[in-house]
Every structure is written in structure tokens, then in C-alpha cells.
């Protein structure tokens, strides 16, 4: 009753595609993955007719119950043969521990949950396929890592990861390579997730104290790479997380408003902040949100931003339009903000290396 043949077929299709997606290593395999979806008879969508009926009936009953409690003389309006069973049912519902509303609310919640979970299953697979496509189009390789261990390892190298008083993890990690005109480098792209824990104690008028703990989740996205030309310098367009050094202000008033720069040695900052570098950083600030750059003592560079679309974007079409989706998969989709960070990094290298 709950699983009609169409839904069973959709379930089967999604399960098999999900399994196959794990094996996908190149673009051709990704296109092949779409074959079962393309040959699927009918639309790739769940039939939620039953669930929608349940939602409608539950809402109707809830409205009816509301008017009954407001004194609507419904039982008097019913014919004699129906009035007594209706009254008994109403009496039974009143005996329920959570009140007469509870069965309807439960039915409503279950029906809505089934509809949402089915939709998210379909959208989840679409997004997973799209994410794989983005990785392939941008020549990124997924790295399996222990999220918290990886965050700890980064924390040892960069102060940028000294955020969150409760928990830090690297939720996603990718490796890539950038080939510029003059320089090339390997990089790691990451999704850094950190949690701040706040505990507040309140006392009411009777002197009773209560403690409430809240957890706020944050994400920073970025890249790490060996830079080599600068050490111990931070350019902060977002809040500092313990970045050290002497404050340095280049001549640009716009830069001073947009960034705070810190360097262990002033000479490092004086050499680094060439006018063209200042312009590159101001341009970067306009392209991404809350950008921070940190050159650590080893000369590695960590750039972080607040833009989630650095590493992923939403798929513009769903799997229920497989032809359209395949067409999109066959196009090259660049992660524009990632490209921007990589190009900026390359420019910073060009303007900091020595030509002689």
C-alpha cells in the first residue's frame, strides 16, 4: 500500500545509481551512469498521492476538531445513526494522553516526512552526481581523511584554524593542481567546519537558575599550498583568530578599510605589499566574502573565504530531467571562485618572485 510499483522502480534506480556513482573516476563513466535514468520508463519521481491525501485528511480533521472545541453543534446536525458513533469517537480521542489532536498531527507529520525524505533522496543523488561532475571538470580529487585529525593537523600549521571553542573538522578535502603561465603548484581545497559553544545562566524572579547551552556552527572554505616567497604574514579581511605580528598599513586608504595586515617583520610586509599586490587583494575582496590570507613560517599559504560555492554549486536541474542533466554534465563547469583564488595566488607568485 505504501510502496506502489512506480515508487519501487524509482527506489531501485536511485539505489543502483548511488552505488555506481562511487565507482565513477572519469567523465565517460559519469555519462554512462546516466544511462539507466535516460532509459527509465516514465518520469523519475515518486508518486506521493497517498501521502498528500493523508495530509489533506489530517488538516481537515484538525480544522473540524478546532470548531468542535469552539462549541460547534456538529453532533446535533448528524443523523441519529451517526451521532452516537461520532460522539464515542470524539470521547475516545479525548482520553488520549496527548489530547484529541495527537493522531491527526502524527499522521500529518509522518506523511510530510515521507514526502520530504523522498524529495531529498532524489535531490541528494542529483547533487552528488553534480558534485562529482564539478570535481572532474575542475580536476579535483577527493581525499578521504579523518575530519577532526585533519583539522588538528592544519591547526598546527595555520592560526586560521584556531577557531571554535568546541569542535573543528575538515568536512571535505580535495587535491588539485594549478598550471599558470609562469608558476605551477599543487593545492588542497577544504571545507573547515567549527563549532562555538555558548553557555548562558539565567536567574528568574524566584531566584531559580537555569543553564542553556547553544552550539553555533560555522564554515570557512579555502585552499592551502606551498607559496615560498613570503613568510609570517597575514592579510585579514575577516576576523583574526590569533594572527600575530606587527600591524602594517600600505598607502591605499581602500586597502586599510578592507584589510588588516600583520607581519612578523615589517620588511616582509614592505616587500610584499607592492602597489599591484594591493590592487590584486582589493580585487579579490570584491570577488569573495570575508577573505583571509595567511603565510605561515614555512612559507605555505592558506586562503579562506566564507563562500560555500568555492567548492560546490547547486545543480540547476534535477534527475527527473535526465536529458537536461546529461547535457549539463557534458559541459565544462568551472568553480569560478576557486579559479579566482588560484589565479590570485599565481599573480601573487609572479609579483613576488625574482626575475633575475
Amino acid at each position: 500500500m505504501f510502496c506502489n510499483p512506480q515508487n519501487a522502480q524509482v527506489n531501485l534506480l536511485l539505489k543502483s545509481m548511488k552505488q555506481d556513482l562511487r565507482q565513477v573516476k572519469d567523465e565517460q563513466a559519469l555519462y554512462r551512469l546516466m544511462h539507466p535514468a535516460l532509459s527509465f520508463k516514465g518520469k523519475i519521481a515518486y508518486n506521493n498521492t497517498l501521502q498528500w491525501w493523508l495530509v489533506a485528511i489530517s488538516i481537515l480533521l484538525l480544522v473540524l476538531f478546532y470548531f468542535l472545541t469552539q462549541g460547534l453543534p456538529l453532533f446535533q446536525m448528524l443523523p441519529e445513526w451517526a451521532a452516537e458513533p461520532a460522539w464515542n469517537a470524539w470521547y475516545f480521542l479525548h482520553q488520549l494522553p496527548l489530547g484529541p489532536w495527537s493522531p491527526c498531527v502524527l499522521l500529518l507529520v509522518v506523511a510530510v516526512f515521507i514526502i520530504i525524505s523522498r524529495r531529498s533522496r532524489l535531490n541528494g543523488l542529483t547533487q552528488a552526481i553534480w558534485q562529482k561532475n564539478l570535481l572532474l571538470d575542475n580536476q579535483l580529487t577527493e581525499v578521504n581523511c579523518a575530519p577532526e585529525t585533519q583539522a588538528d593537523a592544519y591547526k598546527l600549521r595555520f592560526r586560521e584554524f584556531h577557531r571554535g571553542n568546541h569542535k573543528q573538522s575538515i568536512d571535505r578535502l580535495y587535491r588539485g593542481h594549478h598550471q599558470g603561465e609562469q608558476h605551477q603548484f599543487d593545492f588542497e581545497a577544504f571545507d573547515f567546519h567549527y563549532v562555538d559553544k555558548h553557555t548562558t545562566t539565567t536567574t528568574d524572579s524566584k531566584g531559580r537558575t537555569s543553564t542553556r547551552t547553544t552550539y553555533t556552527h560555522y564554515h570557512r572554505y579555502g585552499i592551502i599550498l606551498p607559496f615560498g616567497y613570503v613568510k609570517d604574514l597575514s592579510v585579514l579581511g575577516y576576523s583574526s583568530s590569533g594572527h600575530r605580528g606587527t600591524k602594517w598599513q600600505p598607502a591605499s586608504l581602500d586597502f586599510r578599510r578592507a584589510f588588516t595586515a600583520r607581519a612578523e617583520e615589517e620588511m616582509t610586509a614592505a616587500r610584499f605589499f607592492k602597489p599591484v599586490v594591493v590592487e590584486i587583494l582589493l580585487d579579490l575582496k570584491d570577488a569573495v566574502r570575508q577573505v583571509n590570507l595567511e603565510f605561515n613560517h614555512q612559507g605555505d599559504l592558506c586562503i579562506t573565504v566564507a563562500d560555500a560555492d568555492l567548492l560546490s554549486t547547486n545543480c540547476p536541474v534535477s534527475l527527473d530531467e535526465p536529458q537536461q542533466l546529461l547535457k549539463l554534465l557534458k559541459e565544462q563547469t568551472r568553480l569560478e571562485k576557486l579559479d579566482k583564488l588560484l589565479n590570485v595566488t599565481h599573480k601573487l607568485m609572479v609579483y613576488n618572485d625574482s626575475n633575475f
Binding site: 598607502a251 586608504l253 581602500d254 586599510r256 607592492k274 599591484v276 609579483y351 633575475f356
Partner: protein, 189 residues
Amino acid sequence: MSPTLLIVIIVCVVIAAIILIHNAIIGRFNAVQRAWSDVIAQERQKNKILPALEEVAAKYASHEKQLLEKVTELRQSLTQLSADTIDVKTLSQTESHMGALLKGLTLTVEAYPDLKASETYLKLMREITEQQDNIGAAIRIFNRNVEQFNNGIQIFPNSIVNSMFTHKHTLQVFDDSEAAAGFEYKPNF
């Protein structure tokens, strides 16, 4: 609140505002001077490439005496630039000398294809490109700072504070008259 206290508070607020505006004008003026120093510092970076340019010119000296002369003109022009006084005219002349030198270099390279392929020339061109980018950026930063400084002394109520206490004059932005001559359109400022 008594009228005397109200007057005292208003006077204090006005004095604080005057101090803040005065300090902001001075801060922006200093930033303009600093930006000008950066322009000069970047211009003087050209001294770094002059030996390499002379090396190229000397190698082809018998045919390209003009190139050496242009290097000398640029060197003389660089010595006239001062970080202490904002002199956009001399800066403009230096940029013209650099332009003439680059034209001469291009002609030399066209006459000698082996020079174009040489490592010294490639490194030199890369350095010249980066230097020109830096000078361009330094001038844009200077002009932007001048704009903000001029705004800072011309807008109300800063104009009153400036005329009564700070006494700063509007500054001239750098513009390339040679490039501007190429346009038929002339803005009627």
C-alpha cells in the same frame, strides 16, 4: 537638564567633531604623501633594469646608439623625481622617457631576432612588465587617495573645519597627457 549643561554638551560634541574631522583630513593627506612616495619608489625600481638595458644596448651599440641615449635620458629623469614634493609633471616626463625607451627597445628587437630569444631579454621584459604594472597600480592608488583627500576637504562640514583650522588645498591627480591627447573627447570639468 539645565540649559547650561546642554550648551556644555553641545560645545563638547562640536569640539570632538572638529578634532575628528581635522585628524581625518591629516590622515588622508599623509596617506596621499605615502602613496606618492610609493609611486616614486616604484619609478626608481627602474634603476634596477637600467644595467640590463645598457647591456642589451651595448651589445648592439654600433647600430643602436639611440637606445643608450634613451637609457641615459631615463636615468636623468629618475634623479629629478622627489618623494618629498608631489610633482606629477616630472612623473609624466619620466613615463614619457620610459615609453620612448620601450619603443626603441622594440625596434632593436625587431632588427635582431636573436636578441628576442635571449634569456636576458626575456627576463628583462618580464621585469619591465611587472614594473610598469606596479607603477600603474601605484598611480591608481595615488589618484584614489587624492580623490578621497579632496572629498574629505570639500564636503560639508569638513570644508568649514578645513578652511578654519586645517588649511589644506585640493591636490591634483596624475593624468597622462600623452594618452589623453589620443581622445577627441575632453571632459568639461
